[in-house]
Symmetry: C2
Subunit: 119 residues, 2 copies
């Protein structure tokens, strides 16, 4: 990364929910922005923790035993192996960090699986 | 991490500039908040990139050939091996991500070296 990244400007380039966009890297971790609206799919990542930081809106991360409610400036790290389902009533903007090669739908796969685009 | 992290609340626990505070982990990377005010020390990390996301204020990251100017919602990743010196005129709040064991002053050491506290 040679230049700074304005996260709002990068998010403006995304035209649909749940399409992740890569804005940079730290070592072999991808820095991604994504718009969340509506429920995603229940999934887990057995090999990695999963970092969520809310930039705008309000994100619910459903866990099997409780919900995590995140406003802007709040983050949560889903531990590896823990089933979770991101969800938002209104469009919500999120910074995601996870290792390169991590699939957005984890072990679940299915129609919401999406390769990140480079922003 | 079992609970969400409100970054502003964690930053309020820091009583001086350049004291890093750990708010969580993703795998073996530490998630840290820090208040920046005045120039830090020129240094580099030969083993890792270094992630800066501005949460409030305005951060200048001096590089040897230019300055990176960051407002809230803007991030920059200093590539490994690149000398840099964070700086801020007014108190500025930053989220830092780097591998566990990374020293804040990198190769420079000196009096601004500080172990992170757990917030």
């Amino acid at each position: 990364m040679d230049e700074k990244v304005n996260l709002a400007a990068k998010l403006a380039l995304l035209d649909r929910p749940y399409q992740p966009g890569i804005v940079g890297h730290i070592n072999d971790y991808k820095l991604q922005v994504v718009k969340v609206k509506g429920p995603f799919v229940w999934h887990k990542h057995d090999e990695t923790d999963d970092f969520f930081l809310v930039l705008s809106g309000h994100l619910t991360i459903h866990l099997r035993d409780r919900d995590i409610e995140l406003d802007p400036g709040e983050l949560f790290v889903v531990p590896r192996g823990v089933e979770h389902c991101p969800d938002a009533t209104d469009e919500t903007e999120v910074l995601l960090i996870e290792p390169d090669g991590t699939q957005n739908t984890g072990d679940a796969g299915g129609e919401m699986t999406a390769e990140p685009i480079i922003l």
